[in-house]
Structure formats: structure tokens, C-alpha cells
């Protein structure tokens, strides 16, 4: 187990170090610009976003004891999409505190919907399954409003929105990262402090409560902090599909279910996984802006199937 862990971490470090140099050749006079203003910021963005999303996925799966739980389950992603769509379709071309409106709106949408669910989670007699249902309900509502907004969009807006919903990582310079980083940091650090409590959750909520875990507080903190991180990532990069679902499952299968391993390793593996996907996206269709979600799934699917097949044989 220990050797596996070390190998995994080494691979991750290597991927991150090499990634910025992977891609179509750079013309010598644009080299510095491409490397320092485009590739490195973008790699950093992938690091931050991949790590945050994966951690949130791992936390939600633990919290809901459900392998299908993900930010999209409790409406975070749907809220972000809704916000972004509203901004695209209804929004004026203004910026807010130097933020593009679309970013701000996605952030607000994600946080808004998740906080509704968190508010329900604060209830006294609420069971986890009730929360899952409430999450479905809010996702559904946000999804429906999004459909409504799309329905009333004209085609140029729709095309714009469509690309947004595929997720993207492109960055010029460091401004976005500087804005996202504190949000992501609060989310990641906050969630990691919940590791111990989530470990206790494994033996049932009531038992955990009797062992000193404030179940309601942990629920609210997990959902709130998770939503914060996801809202940030989605606001800047659109909904990057599957990372939050697939990375925790991979870590769980390879390194085990102990929360103390699962949560931090999800951050590390998720971060470098997205960096890898981004680098691969640069080479498979050089010159095109391949949506990174495509590569994520293309790499993740066979890996997950292999892990499932290996275990059950």
C-alpha cells in the first residue's frame, strides 16, 4: 500500500512537471508568451480545478454513502449552469468587480442552489436519503429553468452556451487563477479538516453522533464548502464533466477507502489527472480547442472499467 502510494505520487508529480512542455511546437519568438502566459497558467488552472473537483466528489460520496453522489447530485452544477445561461442570455455586457458577468453568475447560481440544500441538511430529523431527494429536486428545478432559458435564446447565444457547457480550461495570464485560488483553497483546506469526521461516518450517522461527531454541522460544512469550491471551478471553467465522479472511484479502488488516504489523494490525483488530460487535449487535435471533458472521459473510462473488471475477476 505504501509503495503504491509513493508510486502514485511520483507519477503525479512527473505529469505536472512535464505537462506544460507537451503540445504542438512553439514558434521561437512566441515561445515565452505561449509557455508563460498560456500553458503554465492553464496547467495551474487544471491543477486547482482538478484537485478541488475531485476532493468535493470524494467528500460527497462519503457524506451520502452513495457512489453516485457528486456535485451534480445536489444541484451545484445545475445551479452554475443556470447562472451562466442566465448571464449569457439575459445578461448585459457588464463586468462585476473585474469579473466577467458569466463567471459571477455561475458562481452565484451554484452557491445559491447548494445553500438551499445545505439549509435542508440543517434540519433535525433529515435523513441522508431525504437530502439526496432534495438535491435531485433542486437540480431538476435548475435544469428546467436552464432549459427554459435555452428555449428562449437565439441561436448565437445557444451556440455560445453550448460550448460553455462543455467545459474549458483556456487561460491567458494569471488573473483568473489569482481569483479562483483563494476560493479553492478555502474549500480544499476546509474539506480536508473534515476527514476525521467523515471517517467516523462510515459506521452510520447515529453511531458517529454518539462518538462525538456533530452530524448536522459536518453535513452543512461539507455541502457548503464543497459548493463553494465547485462554484468557483465551474464559474471559471464551465462544468468539466466526470472528474469529480471518476477520480475518487479510481483512488478508492487503488489505494483503499480510508478517508485519510482517499481525500488527500483525490486532491493530488485529480489535479494531475486534469493536467494530463489538458496536455493530451493539446496533442490529439493540435490547434483546436478540444474540450477537456472529452479527454477526461476518454482516459477515465477504460481505467474505471479495467478497475471494475480486475476486482470482480
Amino acid at each position: 500500500m505504501r509503495t503504491r502510494l509513493v508510486v502514485m505520487l511520483a507519477v503525479c508529480a512527473l505529469v505536472v512537471a512535464v505537462a506544460p512542455f507537451v503540445g504542438p511546437p512553439m514558434p521561437p519568438d512566441a515561445r515565452d508568451f505561449i509557455l508563460w502566459q498560456l500553458r503554465i497558467p492553464r496547467t495551474l488552472m487544471a491543477l486547482v480545478v482538478g484537485g478541488t473537483l475531485s476532493l468535493v466528489g470524494a467528500v460527497y460520496q462519503s457524506l451520502f454513502s452513495n457512489p453516485l453522489a457528486a456535485p451534480s447530485t445536489i444541484g451545484t452544477t445545475a445551479g452554475a449552469t443556470l447562472g451562466a445561461l442566465v448571464a449569457i442570455v439575459l445578461g448585459a455586457r457588464t463586468a462585476l468587480w473585474g469579473l466577467p458577468l458569466i463567471t459571477g453568475a455561475a458562481f452565484a447560481g451554484a452557491l445559491g442552489v447548494s445553500l438551499l440544500v445545505a439549509a435542508i441538511a440543517a434540519g433535525r430529523n433529515v435523513r441522508m436519503n431525504d437530502l439526496v431527494l432534495a438535491g435531485i429536486a433542486f437540480s431538476m428545478a435548475a435544469g428546467a429553468i436552464s432549459t427554459g432559458v435555452q428555449f428562449s435564446a437565439d441561436s448565437a447565444e445557444l451556440l455560445t452556451a453550448m460550448r460553455w457547457t462543455m467545459g474549458h480550461l483556456p487561460q491567458v495570464g494569471y488573473q483568473n487563477i489569482v481569483m479562483l485560488l483563494p476560493i479553492a483553497a478555502v474549500s480544499v483546506v476546509g474539506l480536508l479538516t473534515l476527514t476525521r469526521a467523515l471517517e467516523v461516518f462510515i459506521s452510520g450517522e447515529e453511531h458517529a453522533e454518539s462518538q462525538g461527531v456533530n452530524v448536522r454541522a459536518v453535513r452543512m460544512a461539507s455541502i457548503g464548502l464543497g459548493a463553494l469550491g465547485v462554484a468557483g471551478c465551474v464559474a471559471w471553467c464551465g462544468p468539466i464533466a466526470f472528474v469529480e465522479l471518476i477520480v475518487p472511484h479510481i483512488v478508492r479502488r487503488v489505494l483503499g477507502v480510508s478517508r485519510r488516504v482517499l481525500l488527500p489523494c483525490s486532491v493530488v490525483v485529480g489535479a494531475s489527472f486534469l493536467v494530463l488530460c489538458d496536455a493530451v487535449a493539446r496533442i490529439i487535435l493540435p490547434g483546436r480547442e478540444t474540450p477537456v471533458g472529452l479527454v477526461t472521459a476518454a482516459l477515465g473510462t477504460p481505467l474505471l472499467i479495467y478497475l471494475v473488471a480486475r476486482k470482480s475477476s
Binding site: 454513502s65 469526521a197 471517517e199 459506521s203 453511531h207 453522533e209 454518539s210 462518538q211 456533530n214 485519510r260
Partner: protein
Amino acid sequence: MTSLLEVSGATVRKGERALLEDVSLRVAPGDFVAVVGPNGAGKTTLMRVALGLQRPDAGRVTVNGRDVGALSPRERAAFLAWLPQRVQVSEPITALEHVAAARYRFKESHRRSEESALVALARVQAEALASRPITELSGGEQQRVAVAALLAQEAPLVLLDEPANFLDPAQQLELYALVGQMWRSGLGVLCITHDINVLAHAMRAGSEGRIRVLGLSKGRVAFESHYDAPDLGEHLGRVFSVRMRGVEVENRRVFVGMSLERGE
């Protein structure tokens, strides 16, 4: 510091049915209270009420005079440790991790937690299980690990819900010997059991009189007695609706359930 658990006049209703009616109870460190009663008498409900996991519809539960609902879960965990009737672990964490998790209430490093967890596992002779996934253990092995988790919590009052379930006779004996040790070392014990005889393993000669027995039946207190009371057999027979024959074996009184010989 005295850690006194006091349940007074607890009543729990569920729709029409009263699951618990006007039950009172005191457990202080050094006390040993055995709760007996037939299936569905409300024993587990009483324990959940005492732990603050279920709010009583009437009555109060206090720990050291403070309402149990007003304590933070961590404070409460510092007073009360619970062994549930059915522990359900949903994922294959190792036994060690499961026990270490029970030390949540302590603000300590993970290494410290694991050390203490190993000690606790050793006390139930389950060191060998430490690194095995808990979902792959046998019923009895799981129960032993659950007891280790209870020990690891180091609370002055322990609440045990049929701890001997799933355990083989040797393990039962060991377990009750361990509970006895804990008791004599000053802990308060509230123990639900169907088998009053196993309590014998918990005591040394002379301490019988200090084991209190609370009989529950249909949510009400049916009797309050002591382990050495001469009429305990009758009481037990009455709540369980069997004949309880007390026999002397090696200076110990053992109750043997006999059918009422209806129709024979």
C-alpha cells in the same frame, strides 16, 4: 468530576403506541445497571433516549445536571460511549481504522489514535484483526472490534446494547470479565442483556449486591432489583414469561430458563 447520567420520567410515543413510559434511571461512575426485558420492551429505545439520539416526548435526560440535548456531541461523547445493537459498517475500512475513528472526541494526532486503537484491540484479543477489512470479518469478530471501539472512546459511562450478541461462550466470558474490570476501575456501566447469567463473569465475589437490575416490559419499569436479590428469578420469570430456575454451580447462582410447561 462526577459524570452522572440521569433519566427521569422518560416517555417516548410513536403515533398511538408508547414505546417508553415514565422510565427513570441513574447511572453514576462505579454503578452497574443491567437492563433486562423481553423483545420490544423498549430497552434500545431507553438507551437511545439516554444518549440524546432520540428526544423523549416527556421527561428529561441530564448528564452532570446538564440537559443531554444541550451538550455538543463531542462533550457528550466524553461522557457516554455506546455499543449499538447492530453496528453497520458500509465500507471495507480496516478494523484498526474503525477503532481509531472512535477516538474522534480526542484532539490528537492520527498516530496517537492508532496507538490507542491497537491497545483497545488488544484488550479484546483482536490485534490480529487490526489490518483486516471489517466487512470481511465473521459476526463475532465484528462484535469484538465494536467493543474495542467502545473502549477506545474512553468515556466514564458505557452503554452496552446486548454486547454478547454474536460472541462465542469464551468471548462472552472474556467480554463480561472486561466489562467487570472497567466497572471496578470506576466506570459506570449500563448494560442491556437477555442473559442475566453472563453478568456473573463481570463480578468478583461480594460485588453481586452492587449490580442493579432494571426490568422493562412494554415500555414500563416492571421491577427494580439487585443481582443477589432472592426474588430475582421470579422477577425475571415474570417479565420474560418463562420459569427461571436458579441453580448453584461452584458457588454461583445460575438461572436456567424452563418453559412454563403449558399443556404438559
